[in-house]
C-alpha cells in the first residue's frame, strides 16, 4: 500500500443556508479544496451524504456532483453510513490512493437539511436507527442517546452538569471558529435550563440541524512531498460495525465500534493513544462525547464525565477534544461532518488553526460515528 | 348446553368525574349524579381502542380457559366503536391470540348489545358442533357528544368469553332474545356522535325490551327471580338496572355484585358483559346467574348460567373486574379528557 497524504482542504461557513442548494454548497467547498491543493487533474471523487433522498428527493448524488463540479467523466462514488458517511468517504478515498488505483482523489461530504420541516428532518435522521424495532415505537435520536445517558448516569454517576460542560467546552472552542454555525459561548446554567427534548437531554445537549459541506484532496505522499506545504499523511484508518439497535448492544453504556476502529487505526499508524495531540470526535449529543472519550481510552470506563469536568479534554488540557467546536457548535450537516473533522485536524497539523491552534500538534485523530454507534470510522493523521 | 369455559375483563385506568364534566358545561353536577346514580367513568388512553381492549380481555379469558388458541374456531367482537368502518376488528384479535388462520371472524354491531350478540352466536356454533371453542367479546370506547347527557356516562371497557362444551366454568341453561324495530338511539354513517330520543329511550325502549326478554327467558327456563343468586342488566346509568330489577321482582342484593356503572360508566357493548365477569369473579359453584342485555334499535339478549366447580380453579388466573375498576386509577381534567377523546378540532 502507498502512503496517503492530504494536500488540500476546503470548507465554507455552515448554518441554515437558505439561499444555497446542496449542489452549490458542495461545489464551493470542493473548489476551495482543489485550490488549496493546487492540483488540476482529479482521478476520482468520493462523496459522503446521509440522505439527499429524504431531504431533497435527490439520489444519484455522485453523478449530480461530478456534473456540478464540471468534472465529468471522473468516476464518482457516493457512500452512506448515516452520520459517519463523511468518515466512510474519507476511508474509501484513502483506499483508492493507497491501493494505487487513483492518484488524486477528491473526498467530500455534504448535507442540505433545511429544505424540509423540523419534523421531517427528525424523521430522516431517525432512519439511522432500527426502523421496525426502534423507530416503530416512537424513538428519536435524542431519545436513543438519552437512554444511553440514563444508563451511564445510573451506572457511573455521570451528572447533568458534566453533560453540560461538554457543550460549554465545545462552544468555547467554536467561538473561535469563523466557519462554525454557532460561534458563541454558553454557560452550564443555560444548557441545564434549555428546552427539554428527551429526558435528560435538552436542546443545548444536541447538535443542530445544519446545511454544509467540507472537502479534502488526497494523493500519494511522494506526490505531496513535491509541494510547498508540510506533508500531512493519513497514517491509520479503522472501521468497525456494531448492532444497529441499541437494545441489541452488549453494553448500552459503551461504544464498542469506536473502541475497535480506534485500535485498528492506531495499530496501522503504529501509534498509541497517548501520542495523539488532538481529537475531533462525534459529539452528536453531549453524552456521546463522554462515551467516546472512554472508548478512545482517554478516560477510564465510566469516567468520561469526570474527564470533561477536570478539563482533561479542553483545548488547553492533556487531550484536547473538538478544538473546532465539535458537532455542537460547528454544526452537523450529517454527511459532511466526517470530512470536516479531517479539515480541522489537517489545519491544526499545518499550524493554520488561528485562535484554536494547539501548539506543537503533529498527530491528530478523527472519530466519526453512525447512529447510536452502529458504525465508527477512525483516522490518524500525522505531520512529517 | 355448552357454556363459558374462560372469561376476562379489561378496563382502562383513566377516569373522569361527573363534577369535572359538569364544570365545563355549567351543569348541576349533584343533580346529574343523583339522577344517573353515576360518579365517574373510565376513559381510554389515546393508544387504546376497541381492538386493544378486546385483545387484553381475551388473553385473560384464554388464561382461564387453558386451551390452545389454535382450537378457537370463531372470534366475534361486538362494538359500536370499531376502529374501522370497513376492515374487521376481529381479525386483529384472532391474529393477536394466534387463532388464525383456521377461524371464522365477524364484527358485530347492535348498539350496546353487540357483545351479548357475539356470545349468543359463539354459543350456538359450539352447540351445533360447528366449532369446538368460540370467543365473543363486547368492547367499546363510545363517545358522548360534548355537553350532552351521554357525555357523563359513555365509557370504555371490554369483556371476553370463550364458549365450549368441556372445561366449563358456567353452563348456559337457557337463552332468549327479544327484538323490535325502534329508533331510540342511533348514529348515521359519517356522524361523529350518536343521537337519541331523550326520555323516549326509557320506558318504550330499555324497559320494554329488558322486561320483555327477562319475562320470556324466565318463562322458557321455567324459573322465577328468586331462583337466581345474581342478575345482571345492561347499565346505561345507575338507575335503570335497579328500577328494572325491582319491576321484575329481583332485589338489590342480587343486582349489586354485577352493578358496576356508578364507578365505571356505561361501557356500551361491554356493559352487561363486564357485569357478568364481575359476578363470575365471586360466584360459587352451583349458583345461578341471569343476564339481560339491551341494545338500542332495539333488542335484548337473555342468558341463564349455572356456575360449575371449575370456577374456583380459574378465577385467580387473570385480573379480576373489581380490581381493574378500583385500583391504579388516574383522574383526568376535562382538557386532557377532550384531547384523549379527540374532541378538540385540530389542523388537518
Amino acid at each position: 500500500m502507498r502512503d496517503v497524504a492530504v494536500i488540500g482542504v476546503g470548507m465554507t461557513k455552515w448554518g441554515e443556508l437558505w439561499e444555497k442548494s446542496l449542489r452549490s454548497i458542495f461545489v464551493e467547498s470542493a473548489l476551495l479544496a482543489i485550490q488549496d491543493a493546487g492540483v488540476e487533474k482529479i482521478d476520482s471523487m468520493v462523496v459522503g451524504c446521509m440522505s439527499s433522498g429524504l431531504f431533497i428527493g435527490q439520489e444519484h448524488l455522485a453523478s449530480l456532483l461530478s456534473d456540478s463540479l464540471a468534472r465529468n467523466p471522473v468516476p464518482a462514488t457516493r457512500v452512506e453510513s448515516a452520520c459517519s458517511s463523511g468518515g466512510l468517504a474519507l476511508r474509501q478515498g484513502f483506499i483508492e490512493v493507497a491501493s494505487g488505483l487513483s492518484d488524486v482523489v477528491l473526498v467530500g461530504g455534504v448535507e442540505k437539511m433545511t429544505d424540509v420541516t423540523g419534523s421531517e428532518a427528525t424523521y430522516a435522521l431517525g432512519t439511522a436507527a432500527d426502523q421496525e424495532y426502534e423507530g416503530y415505537h416512537g424513538l428519536t435520536f435524542p431519545g436513543l442517546y438519552a437512554m444511553m445517558a440514563v444508563a451511564h448516569m445510573n451506572r457511573y454517576g455521570t451528572t447533568r452538569d458534566q453533560l453540560s460542560m461538554v457543550a460549554v467546552k465545545n462552544h468555547d472552542n467554536g467561538s473561535k471558529n469563523p466557519l462554525a454555525q454557532f460561534p458563541s459561548r454558553i454557560s452550564v446554567e443555560a444548557v441545564n435550563n434549555s428546552v427539554q427534548v428527551a429526558d435528560p437531554l435538552r436542546i443545548l445537549d444536541c447538535s443542530p440541524i445544519t446545511d454544509g459541506a467540507a472537502a479534502v484532496i488526497l494523493c500519494p505522499a511522494d506526490m505531496a512531498a513535491k509541494m510547498k506545504k508540510p506533508v500531512i499523511r493519513i497514517t491509520g484508518t479503522g472501521h468497525a460495525s456494531d448492532t444497529i439497535a441499541l437494545s441489541s448492544r452488549k453494553d448500552i453504556t459503551w461504544l464498542e465500534s469506536t473502541a475497535l476502529a480506534a485500535r485498528k487505526a492506531l495499530a496501522m499508524a503504529g501509534r498509541k493513544i497517548e501520542d495523539i495531540h488532538l481529537f475531533e470526535v462525534h459529539d452528536c449529543f453531549t453524552i456521546a462525547e463522554i462515551m467516546i472519550t472512554e472508548a478512545l481510552g482517554l478516560a477510564e470506563r465510566g469516567r468520561g464525565g469526570r474527564a470533561v469536568e477536570e478539563g482533561l479534554t479542553s483545548i488547553k488540557g492533556k487531550h484536547p477534544v473538538n478544538p473546532s467546536g465539535g458537532l455542537k457548535a460547528k454544526g452537523h450537516p450529517v454527511g459532511a461532518t466526517g470530512v470536516a473533522q479531517a479539515v480541522e485536524v489537517v489545519k491544526q497539523l499545518r499550524g493554520e488553526a488561528g485562535d484554536r491552534q494547539i501548539k506543537g500538534a503533529r498527530c491528530g485523530l478523527t472519530q466519526n460515528m453512525g447512529g447510536t454507534g452502529g458504525s465508527a470510522l477512525v483516522h490518524v493523521f500525522e505531520r512529517e | 348446553m355448552p357454556g363459558i369455559i374462560g372469561y376476562g375483563a379489561y378496563i382502562p385506568r383513566h377516569r373522569i368525574k361527573v363534577e369535572e364534566i359538569a364544570k365545563v358545561w355549567g351543569a348541576d353536577a349533584p343533580s346529574y349524579k343523583k339522577g344517573l346514580l353515576l360518579e365517574e367513568k373510565s376513559v381510554p388512553a389515546p393508544d387504546q381502542d376497541t381492538i386493544t381492549m378486546s385483545v387484553e380481555a381475551s388473553k385473560s379469558a384464554l388464561k382461564r380457559a387453558g386451551i390452545n388458541p389454535r382450537d378457537i374456531g370463531a372470534v366475534y367482537i361486538g362494538s359500536e366503536s370499531h376502529p374501522y368502518a370497513v376492515k374487521p376488528s376481529g381479525t386483529v384479535l384472532a391474529e393477536a391470540l394466534g387463532a388464525t388462520p383456521d377461524v371464522h371472524t365477524a364484527d358485530l354491531e347492535f348498539a350496546c348489545k353487540a357483545g351479548t350478540e357475539g356470545m349468543f352466536i359463539a354459543l350456538s356454533l359450539v352447540q351445533a358442533g360447528a366449532v369446538t371453542y368460540g370467543l365473543a367479546v363486547g368492547a367499546d370506547t363510545s363517545q358522548g357528544a360534548p355537553g350532552d347527557a351521554l357525555e357523563y356516562s359513555a365509557a370504555a371497557g371490554a369483556a371476553a368469553f370463550i364458549f365450549g362444551r368441556d372445561r366449563m366454568v358456567a353452563e348456559v341453561l337457557e337463552t332468549y332474545s327479544y327484538t323490535t324495530d325502534m329508533p331510540d338511539f342511533w348514529r348515521r354513517e359519517y356522524q361523529y356522535y350518536p343521537q337519541h330520543g331523550g326520555r323516549f329511550t326509557g320506558d318504550p325502549a330499555y324497559f320494554k325490551h329488558v322486561t320483555g326478554a327477562a319475562r320470556g327467558l324466565l318463562a322458557k327456563a321455567k324459573m322465577k327471580p328468586s331462583d337466581f343468586d345474581f342478575v345482571i342488566f345492561h347499565q346505561p346509568n345507575g338507575k335503570f338496572p335497579l328500577r328494572v330489577g325491582e319491576l321484575l321482582g329481583f332485589d338489590k342484593k342480587q343486582i349489586e355484585p354485577g352493578w358496576l356503572v356508578p364507578k365505571l360508566g356505561n361501557t356500551y357493548s361491554g356493559s352487561s358483559p363486564l357485569g357478568l365477569t364481575a359476578v363470575l369473579d365471586i360466584a360459587r359453584p352451583g349458583q345461578k346467574i341471569m343476564l339481560v342485555s339491551y341494545g338500542s334499535g332495539a333488542g335484548s339478549d337473555g342468558f341463564v348460567f349455572r356456575v360449575t366447580d371449575r370456577i374456583d380453579e380459574v378465577r385467580d388466573l387473570a385480573p379480576k373486574t373489581r380490581d381493574l375498576l378500583d385500583r391504579n386509577k388516574v383522574y383526568l381534567e376535562y382538557g386532557a379528557y377532550a384531547k384523549f377523546r379527540r374532541k378538540i378540532r385540530k389542523a388537518s
Binding site: E132, Y133, H137, L139, M148 | D47
Partner: protein
C-alpha cells in the same frame, strides 16, 4: 410510518412476540433472523418471548417525530425480559415519577400510531408497570 406491507410482515412479532431460539447456542433472537449473531448457525426453532421484565434504561420523549406528536410527552424504555431478551417499547400507564432503572414492567397490546385519519392503524406492544 410503515407501509401496509411493511407493517403486515412484522405482525407475528408485533402481535404475538414470535421469536426464535438458535439450535446451536440457545440464544433467543427477537426479531427472528437468518443467521445467529452469537454463533453463526442458521437453524432455529420457534419460541415466544417472556411477557415481563425490568427496565434497563428509559427516557421521556418531549419532541416527538412525525405521527407521534399527539402522544407527546411519552416514555420509552429498553427492558430486559425474564428470558434475557431485550426489548424496546414505550412505557405507558406509568407516572413519569415512577420511571427508574429496574422498574418491573409487563407487555400490553396497544395502538402504536395511525397513518393519519384515513390510513391504516398500527398495533403492537408497550410496557406497563407490573
Amino acid at each position: 410510518m410503515p407501509t401496509p406491507s411493511r407493517y403486515w410482515r412484522e405482525i407475528p412479532q408485533r402481535y404475538r412476540l414470535e421469536a426464535e431460539k438458535c439450535r446451536g447456542c440457545g440464544r433467543i433472537l427477537f426479531p427472528p433472523r437468518l443467521v445467529c449473531p452469537e454463533c453463526g448457525r442458521q437453524e432455529f426453532e420457534p419460541t415466544k418471548l417472556a411477557e415481563s421484565g425490568a427496565l434497563l434504561t428509559y427516557t421521556i420523549i418531549r419532541v416527538a417525530p412525525a405521527g407521534f406528536e399527539d402522544q407527546s410527552p411519552y416514555a420509552v424504555g429498553i427492558a430486559e425480559m425474564d428470558d434475557g431478551v431485550r426489548l424496546t417499547a414505550q412505557v405507558v400507564d406509568c407516572d413519569f415519577s415512577r420511571l427508574q432503572v429496574g422498574l418491573r414492567v409487563k407487555l400490553e397490546f396497544r395502538k402504536m400510531h395511525e397513518d393519519g385519519e384515513a390510513g391504516v392503524i398500527h398495533y403492537g406492544y408497550k410496557f406497563v408497570p407490573e
